[in-house]
Symmetry: C2
């Protein structure tokens, strides 16, 4: 397939941002206003914010929004859903499994100086009965993504239902974005979820023992 546009391929994210302070509204609004939204469409409702556009622009926007909120020093948690390969809503507007495609994985995020811990899940979504269901391998992309996390130094451990990542916010988000794209070379529809925590007051630093 020649490179489809992000809109054609359904590339985007849904996220929510939780600065754990009674004054959370200005922290969220300031963070959304401070981030570079060039190249992305952003829409917010009372549950989450949808960001659509090319993968590097989506990840840059997420990194800047989360980084700006956490830069206040407030304990901040973000939850991300990344999706590509399934434009539309309940039903996909592309033929499923027709062609897996992903751009280069270099997302170009710059270090934030903010330490983040995350629980990360990666879901390459195969469909039964499609032309290449017998040859597509969803585990291959997952192993590549975990190898990439190890070489980045962000992999901490596998846990129930998720993988623990730790590192600079940009390194954690790069790991998540790179995994999403690596799996996307094998399987058309790939979704990833992550819960990312910064400035946690918890005395248990789960990432410190690796």
């Amino acid at each position: 397939m020649s490179a489809p546009s992000p809109t054609e391929y359904g590339v985007g994210a849904r996220f929510s941002l939780h600065p754990m302070t009674s004054g959370f509204v200005p922290v969220i609004l300031d963070a959304l206003a401070a981030a570079d939204a060039s190249g992305v469409d952003v829409s917010t409702d009372d549950v989450s914010t949808c960001v659509r556009g090319p993968e590097p622009a989506v990840l840059r926007f997420l990194c800047q929004v989360i980084g700006h909120a956490a830069g206040t020093g407030v304990h901040t948690v973000a939850h991300l859903l990344l999706s590509r390969g399934c434009p539309g809503e309940v039903t996909c507007e592309l033929p499923e499994g027709a062609d897996a495609w992903a751009p280069d994985v270099d997302l170009g995020l710059t270090s934030t100086g903010l330490r983040a811990g995350a629980h990360w899940s990666l879901y390459p979504l195969l469909d039964a009965g499609t032309a290449d269901a017998d040859t597509q391998d969803h585990m291959a992309g997952i192993y590549e993504a975990i190898d990439q996390a190890r070489s980045r130094g962000t992999f901490t451990r596998a846990e129930h239902y998720a993988t623990r990542l730790d590192g600079d916010l940009a390194a954690v988000l790069s790991t998540i974005g790179e995994g999403w794209l690596l799996a996307g070379r094998q399987v058309q529809h790939v979704v990833s979820h992550a819960t990312i925590s910064l400035n946690s007051p918890s005395t248990t630093d789960a990432g410190a023992d690796r």
Copy 2:
């Protein structure tokens, strides 16, 4: 398959709870302490809490924890990951696609009096090349789950990457749990994610226009 135990089948959840107040620590700790944890194993770290056990006990625990936190009147957001059919961590300890199994979908949650809005995603995870990959149908379970949400009255609309649900917290959680089990009758490994918001100060009530 005769009914596997929840541990054998890898049934459980990972969730995080965000009461949006500077005094979030006691709200979280009180909510965890107040919920009925009989029948579930609960472990908390600095990013999320893992709950393992039979589906009705897991959902009851989640409903009570979230309900207790939101019952303070504070704007509270919870993120859930529900998983069944893939015990183990990176690699599954069951043969994939071997046998899909799910108990009755009656979860028995009682109304909380708390209104919740949610973005919900349901992922039946098929594997290529398994014995029944040609006969398993991941969309069938998704359509059944959405029909169930419509008959419960919690379905609001399909959005990018998620379905919007609104209703009593117990009805929203029942919809999510029932969808997880309905899809689990067709496909062994089923994961569901949801972002659930209560007491939002947002003037946009996205659920009000249905």
